[in-house]
């Protein structure tokens, strides 16, 4: 099951936290899913969600008094992948983590948010107040300070027109990247706070808007957690239909991403090919869901609409067509020498690094680690479908394309099986869920196209959830990608970042300071593509 009540909670004292984490890592629970903060009135509960490689989860709970500056020891040296999660709890709940190497940087709040102001996710923090503070001091944003070394490349601007602005400060020596400091959170929209004021049913549509590409999997995971809190069981047909849409979404998301890889290498034809195939997948999604992007398909206890037999026939026909086209394109790409030269061996890492950094999804599976939530913790129809996660032997940009191509083909196959063997029954629940669940907590994990997606819901017996926590796969992978950039050249930066499949839009322009000449120059998207093409020419 994807969603389940919060079980296996070990309560520890702040002093014993590090030993407890070390003990859990030794027991095999080395994958930190995320750290959740919960406002419990008098104190702040901090939950460490740890997972083993075979799918079990255990949760460590620590309580700290509810005051700004309450502190906990960091676990970043035990599990390096915990950096961002600690920063998130610090910014949103005001809990300091002693010894976190990035204590000076902010995520996700802006630099100007005073450290002694009420943290936004406390119950007494009002949305309007938080907004006011950020707006008042907003002018100071965007001021870029050079580091002590003097060679600093701010990579990725803050631009409201971009879908996902991110900022990476690259410390470079000539062309080579020496160090990377990621700065995320420019589009933090406070969705977790908004969710506390909306009913469970309305939140389904809110969480659909977390991501514009894999929108369905967010509703799906939220719904799985909500079903566990509300103790509602979906029908088998509904489970299968949701799996169908989730897999179709994986197909379109992977095709979109592989197309973008081509685009960032300067291979626009590849981009066009793949997006052409993707368009067909969107048509299938429209047949099943009624909408193409914001599908609004899953609901608590089932799906909002059913499919007819004639629609299923159309889906099957379209899937055959997609499979043919996708394998055609795949063959053409993989027989193209330049593509292989430009991707093979870029951004290499090993399985140990991936595990320590808590990487997820296809990005982790290329190291040979079969860590796939669909397999280790089956939900939906995956148990019955019975599939093997796709892994690769070598982790580099080339194999991350390869693994996603294979997953695409596997997903199409799964979709066809679902369309053929869809169980009979009703998928739409008798009544849409509009009640207040009993007090309780639940977690849900699914395998989104980009990797493990995690939701935590706490109910206090009210019509609205008390706390919803979302951990998206891109955040889990960001840290590893940033580490991999060390030693790479500037022209490889887009390719290495694209490997993790972020909603990639941050290379609008890049400002380069060179310490030797003391000059600053702007690099725009076209320059990056030009640099990449030059590298291509040298491969020939």
């Amino acid at each position: 099951m994807g969603g389940r009540p919060l079980e296996n909670v070990v309560t520890v004292e702040p002093e014993g936290l590090r030993e407890a984490v070390e003990h859990q890592v030794k027991r095999g629970y080395g994958h930190l899913v995320t750290i959740t903060g919960v406002d419990a009135g008098e104190k702040i509960r901090v939950l460490y969600h740890l997972s083993s490689l075979s799918g079990d989860m255990t949760h460590l709970e620590v309580s700290v008094p509810k005051k700004v500056g309450a502190s906990l020891p960091t676990i970043a040296d035990v599990i390096p992948g915990s950096l961002f999660y600690e920063m998130e709890v610090r910014d949103l709940f005001g809990v300091r983590f002693e010894g976190n190497p990035w204590e000076a940087y902010r995520y996700p709040l802006p630099e100007t948010y005073p450290r002694d102001a009420t943290p936004p996710l406390w119950k007494e923090a009002e949305n309007e107040k938080v907004r006011e503070i950020i707006w008042r001091d907003g002018d100071a944003l965007g001021q870029i300070q050079t580091s002590a070394e003097g060679v600093s490349v701010p990579f990725g601007p803050y631009h409201p027109a971009l879908k996902e602005p991110e900022h990476f400060r690259l410390i470079v020596d000539g062309e080579t990247v020496v160090d990377v400091i990621p700065r995320l959170g420019y589009v933090h929209r406070g969705i977790e706070k908004i969710a506390e004021r909306r009913t469970y049913l309305k939140n389904v549509y809110l969480f659909e808007r977390v991501c514009g590409i894999c929108s369905f999997i967010h509703t799906y995971t939220y719904v799985l957690a909500a079903e566990s809190v509300a103790k509602v069981e979906p029908s088998r047909r509904a489970e299968w239909l949701r799996t169908l849409v989730a897999e179709l979404e994986r197909v379109h998301s992977h095709l979109l991403w592989i197309g973008l890889v081509g685009y960032w290498m300067g291979f626009d034809t590849m981009f066009m090919w793949l997006w052409g195939v993707r368009e067909k997948v969107m048509d299938v999604l429209e047949i099943v869901c009624g909408n193409r992007v914001m599908k609004g398909f899953a609901t608590i206890g089932g799906t909002v609409r059913d499919v007819t037999d004639s629609q299923l026939e159309q889906v099957k026909r379209a899937l055959r067509e997609i499979e043919k086209q996708a394998s055609d394109v795949m063959e053409r790409i993989l027989s193209f020498d330049l593509f292989i030269h430009r991707t093979r061996g870029f951004g290499e890492f090993d399985v140990e690094t991936a595990r320590r950094m808590c990487a997820v999804g296809p990005y982790r599976r290329i190291t040979g680690d079969p860590y796939d939530i669909r397999k280790v913790e089956p939900y939906g129809a995956y148990q019955e479908l019975g599939f093997e996660p796709i892994t690769e032997k070598r982790a580099d940009a080339y194999h991350s394309v390869l693994v996603r191509l294979k997953e695409t083909m596997q997903s199409i196959e799964m979709c066809r099986r679902i369309a053929e063997e869809l169980p009979a029954g009703a998928a739409v629940p008798q009544r849409f869920y509009m009640a207040s669940p009993q007090p309780g907590e639940a977690v849900a994990r699914t395998e989104a196209p980009r990797g493990e997606l995690f939701y935590f819901i706490k109910s206090a017996g009210k019509p609205t959830p008390d706390r919803v926590k979302v951990r998206t796969p891109s955040l889990a992978n960001m840290l590893l990608a940033a580490t991999l950039l060390r030693g790479a050249t500037l022209s490889d930066v887009p390719i290495i970042f694209t490997m993790i499949d972020p909603c990639f839009s941050c290379t609008d322009r890049v400002l380069v300071y060179d310490v030797r000449t003391r000059t600053a120059r702007m690099l725009r998207e076209e320059d990056f593509i030009k640099m990449s093409r030059k590298r291509w020419a040298s491969c020939e």
Partner: protein
């Protein structure tokens, strides 16, 4: 493939001046039904009892209840309210139609441009 050079460009420009536009006008009166589309909610006023269920579930608060008349509950006259849809706030999830017990909201499966479509049903236009 268009011709290159200044003469090619000139002849192309002249040719384009006299040819008809390639794009076709979007005829709103004669739109095809899109069989799979979820579509836009439309109220059937005769069936609506004003129970406010659609108003309560609407995720984007696109529905406002407007008084359109009165109805009798037992001996008393109470105001009858109908939903009014703001199609610019609507996210087209269809929830209002799915929860309606009286099937008073139907989904119009056509791609109607919002600014030329009929005015919002129930009450005056948005």
């Amino acid at each position: 493939m268009p011709k290159r050079g200044a003469t090619g460009m000139l002849s192309e420009a002249l040719r384009r001046l006299v040819t008809e536009p390639i794009t076709e006008p979007y005829v709103v009166e004669d739109l095809e039904e899109q069989p799979h589309l979820r579509g836009r909610p439309l109220l059937i006023p005769e069936k609506c009892t004003g129970c406010r269920l659609c108003y309560m579930v609407c995720p984007s608060s696109a529905i406002t209840m407007v008084t359109v008349g009165t109805r009798r509950v037992g001996q008393r006259e109470v105001p009858l309210q109908h939903p009014r849809f703001d199609y610019f706030r609507c996210i087209y999830c269809g929830m209002c139609s799915y929860v309606c017990t009286f099937k008073a909201i139907e989904l119009e499966r056509k791609l109607v441009p919002l600014h030329v479509g009929p005015k919002p049903s129930g009450g005056e236009g948005a």
